[in-house]
């Protein structure tokens, strides 16, 4: 166990983790089950084009979410692009700037203009007030994001969307298996788009799906996705390729079997982090909102530099040096990045909470590959960082 600041890997100590500890979920099932499923595909010689496993997965997921339709996709970003086209959106769409770039990019590819909204500093979700503020006659939809698995005000946003005649849909990449006041994610808005990327709760390496209760919308999506799996041929504005392969579906089906166990283990890990970090000044975990039942797939912390004694940047370097994957979620405030930075120069100072959270948050590793012991070790390191912040600042000066 590390003792002083000098024992941190950043200052030459041995890294605490001998193997790299990645941030994402990485809930892989045992090889034997994977091999069995892959051999099954070879025996059927049915590889893609809406095969039997994709059909089974769609059926099971529809049951899991409690929705009428699930449409599997190559990945969630393609799902979001197809969703925007299927909704027939025009003009502008409200979307948070804080998050993963694929969300906003999907709008740009669909020929739409994003209208960024600010977020709540506690939950990191857009606020209903900031969404309402952004509505103009050119806005045709709200794209809510269930960031970190926190369900994004489905009832209130639905009310706003109804009043203003807008479509409402959700990027639910983080929210597989989450619910809001007992209603499962998948049932909110006109549709929800899930990701099965290996960093998320359900893992098909890459993959995703759209869940909807709207029969017509589901058929439009099928017609855009591919000619395979169409139930009724329709004229659509543009087609794409969003097919999921049988290999992806096989992995997703196996991962679905393990969901209850993986979710419970995530919750245990979250509670252990919570127990250890709640006694440290200057660090706060982002918790599930009062209405969300979370999948706990993310452990996100915020650093208050004044109280913690070190900046988020310094703590990040300390953690990374111990052989932990980059704790910074890719991008953060999308409006500060290209092409949006050049497109919207006027917005660079506009979103105070988004900018504040962007400079304070970091992710901690969780998922099947992270043991309780790993969490204890990492929390020990964070404790050392807090307790010996002065020494660390001095060592950093020397290092410079």
């Amino acid at each position: 166990m590390k003792k002083g600041a000098g024992s941190l890997a950043l200052f030459g100590g041995n890294p605490a983790f001998t193997r790299p500890l990645s941030i994402g979920q990485r809930n892989f099932v045992g090889w034997d089950r994977v091999e069995h499923a892959l051999r099954g595909i070879f025996s059927r010689r049915y590889y893609t084009n809406h095969g039997p496993l994709v059909q089974e997965l769609e059926e099971r997921l529809a049951g899991f979410f409690g929705v009428r339709h699930v449409l599997c996709m190559t990945n969630a970003t393609i799902g979001l692009m197809i969703a925007a086209k299927a909704l027939g959106l025009t003009g502008k769409v409200l979307v948070p700037s804080f998050g993963f770039p694929g969300t906003v990019q999907s709008l740009t590819w669909a020929g739409l203009e994003p209208i960024f909204c600010d977020i709540d500093p506690v939950t990191h979700l857009i606020t209903v007030a900031s969404a309402e503020q952004g509505i103009t006659p050119e806005v045709s939809a709200i794209l809510g994001v269930h960031l970190w698995g926190n369900i994004c005000h489905p009832g209130e946003l639905a009310r706003v969307a109804d009043e203003k005649g807008l479509r409402l849909y959700f990027d639910a990449a983080h929210a597989f298996g989450c619910s809001c006041n007992g209603v499962p994610a998948g049932q909110f808005g006109d549709m929800e788009i899930f990701s099965f990327h290996m960093d998320n709760m359900l893992n098909s390496l890459e993959g995703g799906c759209i869940a909807t209760n709207d029969d017509n919308l589901a058929e439009i999506i099928r017609n855009i996705r591919s000619s395979y799996g169409i139930r009724k041929s329709m004229t659509v504005s543009v087609t794409g390729n969003g097919r999921m392969s049988e290999a992806q579906a096989a992995l997703a089906l196996l991962s679905l079997e393990d969901f209850p166990r993986n979710r419970a283990a995530n919750q245990e890990r979250f509670e252990l982090y919570q127990k250890r970090l709640s006694v440290i000044d200057g660090i706060r975990l982002v918790c599930p909102s009062s209405e969300t039942q979370s999948n706990y797939q993310h452990v996100v912390a915020e650093i208050d530099e004044a109280a913690f004694g070190l900046s988020r940047t310094v703590l990040t370097s300390i953690i990374e040096a111990e052989n932990v994957g980059s704790p910074l979620y890719p991008a953060g405030s999308i409006h500060h990045h290209e092409p949006y930075r050049t497109l919207y120069p006027g917005l660079q100072e506009a979103f105070h909470q988004t900018d504040k959270v962007s400079s304070r948050f970091l992710q901690l590793p969780t998922g099947k590959h992270v043991s309780g012991e790993d969490i204890q070790t990492l929390c020990d390191i964070i404790t050392i960082a807090r307790e010996q912040a002065g020494d660390i600042r001095a060592l950093l000066k020397v290092k410079e």
């Binding site: 990485r26 091999e35 892959l38 070879f42 543009v238 794409g240 890719p330 990045h337 290209e338």
Partner: protein
């Protein structure tokens, strides 16, 4: 084949009450099955060591092997041929210009891909011999708005590589080849992959290499390869910063493993394809109504597809021919039908003059069953049906009219 009995009478045809000639479907999809142990041998070590990653070691190895195969410096893997084309069009189109020149007789989603990247398809005609675009058919479509030229290789032959490269230089407009149907082909002895600015291939299960789903782009231009790579990964550069608009076109590791296993069998597969194609040519040699379009055997070819031209002396319409074959469980397909310029679209398209050859060729070509599910014996059976149709054409046609009346 279950029924090795040749069709004797019109009523032996499945459409008119006979037993289908095949017990299961024969299609135009390749569906090559690599050695499963080789496939699992790629996946297992990576899986068991928890080393799956975005653009992980299997994708890296595949990109290296494909670059070797195509004799190019760079290869960027993609989750599909569709997304590879979309990314390549987006990166290559001259900014501020709006039109993309492409054939009309081609992949049915080609114009939609252009629409996704905000380009207006400008349809050009094709050459009757090769069925591909040439400098002569493309040049009338080039104007001050042209952002990109698509050199799409047709099925079986190649488009006019030299002529299009000349145009590209003369007008200073980038040239992107769609080589999806020309995988493993050569031109003047040089492997396809490094012509124009870049070339796109597919790894869909129906194509030469079965990666479940997938695609890739080859190029010799380092900056272009970097731009294609970052665009395919949400715009993220290697250092994690965002360079601009991107999306998710990543190929996953299991699909990469599948393709790697198929690559080990590629030479042998091409021999099998060649034998199938030769069998079609031999068995159909006496059928005057059908011409099997030959491959240029002086160059490398994949020989996967079997394209036939329906001549004047063929007694049936293509539609009726396909209906009869489908009833026998033979999923023969019309060649790229309908032509893109005849479809109504939600977006604007342009064409210059008439597309005479396109219109004519869109009615008289069909693809016959091919790929791993089709044996030489099957081809003999398929040929027997076609020979029967040629001989009994007028009677078959009369039976069609009878069922239409009833």
């Amino acid at each position: 084949m279950i029924d090795t009995m040749k069709k004797q009478e019109i009523r032996d045809l499945a459409l008119f009450g006979g037993a289908p000639a095949f017990d299961s479907i024969r299609s135009t999809s390749n569906l090559v099955t690599p050695d499963i142990e080789k496939f699992l041998g790629y996946v297992r070590p990576v899986y068991e060591h928890g080393k799956f990653a975005d653009n992980g070691q299997l994708v890296h190895e595949l990109e290296r092997r494909l670059a070797d195969l195509h004799q190019t410096s760079f290869c960027v893997a993609s989750c599909s041929g569709f997304m590879a084309l979309m990314v390549a069009m987006h990166v290559l189109a001259i900014s501020g210009k709006t039109e993309i020149v492409m054939p009309s007789l081609t992949y049915r989603r080609m114009a939609d891909i252009a629409a996704w990247v905000g380009l207006v398809p400008h349809f050009c005609d094709i050459d009757e011999q090769s069925l591909g675009v040439t400098a002569r058919t493309v040049e009338p479509c080039i104007n001050s708005r042209t952002a990109l030229i698509m050199g799409v290789h047709p099925i079986t032959n190649l488009c006019d590589i030299d002529g299009l490269e000349r145009l590209s230089i003369q007008y200073n407009i980038p040239l992107l080849f769609d080589s999806v149907e020309a995988g493993w082909a050569s031109f003047h002895g040089r492997m396809l992959g490094s012509f124009g600015k870049a070339e796109v291939c597919s790894l869909h299960a129906s194509k030469l290499l079965n990666g479940f789903e997938g695609g890739y782009i080859t190029t010799n231009d380092r900056d272009l390869a970097d731009a294609l790579r970052t665009t395919s990964r949400f715009g993220f550069r290697e250092d994690g910063s965002l360079s601009g608009l991107g999306l998710n076109a990543k190929l996953n590791e299991v699909h990469a493993a599948m393709t790697l296993a198929c690559l080990e069998d590629l030479d042998a597969q091409v021999e099998r394809n060649k034998a199938r194609h030769r069998a079609y040519r031999d068995f159909l040699a006496t059928v005057s109504g059908l011409t099997v379009i030959p491959y240029d055997e002086t160059e490398r070819r994949g020989y996967k597809n079997v394209l036939v031209k329906i001549n004047e002396s063929w007694p049936l319409s293509r539609e009726n021919t396909l209906t009869l074959l489908h009833a026998e469980k033979l999923l023969a397909m019309p060649y790229y039908y309908p032509a893109l310029h005849t479809k109504s679209t939600s977006y604007r398209t342009v064409r210059s003059g008439s597309l005479q050859v396109t219109d004519r060729m869109s009615e008289c070509l069909m693809l016959l069953p091919c790929g791993d599910f089709v044996s030489i014996e099957d081809i003999s059976g398929i040929a027997d049906i076609l020979i029967f149709l040629q001989e009994k054409g007028p009677e078959v046609q009369a039976s069609f009219e009878e069922i239409r009346e009833t």
